[in-house]
Every structure is written in structure tokens, then in C-alpha cells.
């Protein structure tokens, strides 16, 4: 199984992506969508990334997920560029025979993507633009998947 990984400016269609993961051996598709949240007067985000490394790092994360859970498909789409409040940022969709693997792998992929994939966000508020600081809580979320 080869993970389907896209870094793009354009939006994506959830229905199309779920359909693409639905095959005879797939009994469950778990999806996560991240949106631009309009709190504290935020009006837009601008995302940049490290072309080349981003795709490789996400592929590594997807490979790791496949060694941990029996999966039938993985689709990860991450948007870059300027995104207004309410717009979709990221999709992680996982197909598996059963829901447990699909749910867990989806969360694992998202937690690792947050801490490993080289994306950076700028926030726009009242005409000012600031870089988003990384959060310790994201590191903690990824750390809990470490094998003892």
C-alpha cells in the first residue's frame, strides 16, 4: 500500500477522498480535518513548507503507521499558502478492515504530522502578522505513541 500524499494550495473534497479509500477489503475509514480557527481576532493563516522534505517526512510517518496497524490506505493532504478563517488546512484519512486501527492510525498520523512535518504558520490579526510558536502539548501528544 502506497500512501497518497499531497501538498497543495487548492482545497480538497472529503467525499472524493473517502471514496478513493473505499475498497473491498476496507471496513472502516477514519478521517480528520483541521480548520483555520478564528479565535482572538485571527483573520487568516499563511502556511509555508520545506518542499521535498515535507513529502519525505510525511511518507516516513505513513510508513511507520503501516508497521503499527493493518491499513488498506492512507491519504494525507496538507494545504499551503494563505487560508482564511473556516478554510480546511489538512486532511488525514485512513482506511482499514476495522475501526480500531483506522481511528488509532489517524490520530497517530496527525500527532506526528504536527511535530515532524516541516510546515510553519503565520497568523494575521488586525493587520499584524506573527509566526505561530510550537506548543509543548503537541510534543506531548506525539510522545505518547513512543514505544516503551
Amino acid at each position: 500500500m502506497i500512501a497518497n500524499i499531497h501538498i497543495q494550495n487548492e482545497d480538497f473534497d472529503l467525499g472524493d477522498e473517502v471514496e478513493a479509500l473505499s475498497g473491498d477489503g476496507t471496513g472502516a475509514v477514519a478521517t480528520f480535518i483541521g480548520l483555520v480557527r478564528g479565535d482572538d481576532g485571527l483573520t487568516a493563516l499563511t502556511l509555508e513548507h520545506y518542499p521535498g522534505m515535507t513529502e519525505r517526512e510525511i511518507a516516513r510517518i505513513a510508513q511507520e503507521a503501516q508497521t503499527r496497524w493493518p491499513l488498506s490506505g492512507i491519504t494525507i493532504i496538507h494545504r499551503v499558502g494563505r487560508l482564511a478563517v473556516g478554510e480546511r488546512i489538512v486532511l488525514v484519512a485512513v482506511g482499514a478492515a476495522h475501526r480500531g486501527s483506522a481511528f488509532e492510525a489517524c490520530q497517530f498520523l496527525m500527532d506526528y504530522l504536527k511535530t515532524r512535518a516541516p510546515f510553519w504558520k503565520q497568523e494575521e490579526r488586525d493587520g499584524t502578522v506573527d509566526w505561530v510558536e510550537a506548543r509543548d502539548s503537541d510534543d506531548a501528544a506525539a510522545d505518547r505513541w513512543r514505544k516503551a
Partner: protein, 83 residues
């Protein structure tokens, strides 16, 4: 070596990439960061606190002790904030 900068590191140093010749003095990523910091100005600002920076060599996350070689692609950037 091709050295790349992203996010506020790029803004502080004022460029997205540059070519830096690999020399014996630049044994590790930390050596390269120290050399860049010593340039002063925006470089000193960007590299003043290495705890705020992350690095990659040939598109793989590494620590400051990673060994450099001629032809490497080295990148400096803040902790990632995607998703």
C-alpha cells in the same frame, strides 16, 4: 553545501538559501550554526539561541552534533507548526 532557511530564520538572515563551502572547521551542524551566528546582524539574531532552532541534513531531522559533508543540503528552521 546548500544551506536553506525557513520561516522567521529566513526573514532574519534575509535570504532563503546560500552556498557555503564545506571546510574541516565545519565538522557538525553546530559548527555551521556558530559560524553563521558570528557573521553578526540578522544571522546573529537568528542563531543567538539554538534552543529555538531545529535543523535537517539532506531532508532528515538532525541534532546539532550531526556530521556535515561536502554537497549536503542543510536547513535551519523554527520548531514546526503545521497541521
Amino acid at each position: 553545501m546548500n544551506v536553506l532557511y525557513f520561516a522567521w530564520v529566513r526573514q532574519k538572515v534575509g535570504r532563503a538559501e546560500e552556498t557555503i563551502e564545506h571546510t574541516p572547521a565545519l565538522r557538525t551542524v553546530g559548527d555551521l550554526a556558530a559560524m553563521l551566528s558570528a557573521r553578526g546582524g540578522g544571522y546573529a539574531e537568528a542563531f543567538s539561541d539554538m534552543r529555538r532552532l531545529r535543523a535537517a541534513v539532506n531532508q532528515v531531522h538532525v541534532g546539532l552534533d550531526a556530521i556535515l559533508a561536502a554537497g549536503d543540503e542543510v536547513a535551519f528552521f523554527p520548531p514546526v507548526t503545521g497541521g
